[in-house]
Amino acid sequence: MKFLQRSYIFLIFLLLYVPILVLIVFSFNEAGSLAEFSGFSTVWYEELFNDDEALTSLCNSLLLAVSSSVIATIIGTFASLGLHRMRSKWLKGAINTVTNIPMMNPDIVTGVSMMLLFVALAGFLGSQNLFGFGTMLIAHVTFNLPYVILSVLPRFKQLDTSMSEAAQDLGCTPSQAFFKVELPEIVPGIVSGLMLSFTMSLDDFVISHFVSSPDFQTLPLYVYNQTAHNVKFSMYALSALIVVVILVILLIVNFAGSFNRKTIAKGGAK
């Protein structure tokens, strides 16, 4: 029975990983073909590191992911504080519902709705170059916000309010009490919110696809453009690198503690 279970697990994971493994193996294929392996070579990796477009989009991706996750974390953390202290149940519910719209909605709807807003705005301002880093940043912050709130708000709920009260009784102002007593308690929530939105932003293709311009291309957009044309084999090298980097990060993070993304995001953690 144990054997059957293990073979089932093995089989499914094998099927899940075959395309990725083929990709990695063939990224070392000298011939630049997927059909036959002609010889080991790192020529595609060299080409990748000489490809300015790929490197620029990697930079853009990181830049966007860092800035959007930081902004989203700041806004989201304060929002969680405010929501936590909010008395009006109705307002709280309304804000929560609206915040969660980008999470509920399919990405493509979020993407086109943002695009319509920016198109209308561009028409209103008569501006030609509205699309670019700015629009991407706004879109990414927007879809990151619910994830930040989802990881920070529960931390506020777990706070022991008597601590803050004690601090205030001892002479702290409410804001001092917040920064000195409550904030350290919620830092883990903030960190996981930050990392969550960092990875969401790094990974996003669909929403970026609708609000981007050639001015500012991220890595997923670069991959999309590549696969729509005559695919350069350096794309395989790039993909292989991405897989390996993610594997390393996952191993580090997972064996340093448990941190998972989608269950916090959409699963039960309410």
Partner: protein
Amino acid sequence: MNKSSIFQKLAAVPHMVWTVMFIVFPMIFVLFFAFTDDKGQFSFENISSLAQYGHVFVLSIAFALIATVVCLLIGYPLAYFMSKQSPRAQKILMVLVMLPMWCNLLIRTYALMALLDNGGLLNSLLESLGFDKLSIVGTNFGVILGMIYDFLPYMVLPIFTAMTKLDPKYIEASHDLGCNSWQTMTKVVMPLTASGVISGITMVFVPSISTFYISQKLGAGKIDLVGDTIERLFQNPSTYNVGAVISLVMMILIIISVTVMNRFSDDKQSPTKGNGGGFMP
């Protein structure tokens, strides 16, 4: 007594402003575009042009439904068997489930397409072994396969999480009370992991129904789903309006199905939601 400063009361204001500007307004624009023509005049014409896309909607729903069910049928036993492994193995398996989720979807889809294409590795292998070629790319089967391949981890992970949170004492208790393993499975394990199943279903169904990259690559541009239609219509300013209507309809469809799904999970049996105390009425 909890005194809060003005600062704390106003902490949510930037967020409120942000959501109104970049979540509420865009939604209003979708509504506005859906009910106007390309000159900004109020019109129901877009709604009537929906009829043309009836088949596209049916096909998308059908594909998403099939992909979700197959993911559940494959993923549930997988998650269950995974939870039976040693803690160390579980951790490694967990990483293996999460790795594809974190890798970009485009890369995985393209890798799958390159593998399955008529001239790809699979077919050259089959040919050299003397079998017939399999045409997968450009067929319905190919698109559904792509969805299953891409979204299976999203089904496995929440179910697996629910499984690991399941207290083994319940299973022991059910055995002690005379349940056989099938009964334990249907009466104890399944109800207790229902919430994981529900979130797994939503996480597979929603991206499946709205995808356009999978159908573009594995359907070779021939099998147009709702996502492809929206993407194409939003490439051309003169068709924004029809695109907005289709987006609106899809949004409503998804809200309805998610709400229905959540009703199923509303019973208080789920251990991940409550404290696990009242698992049987």
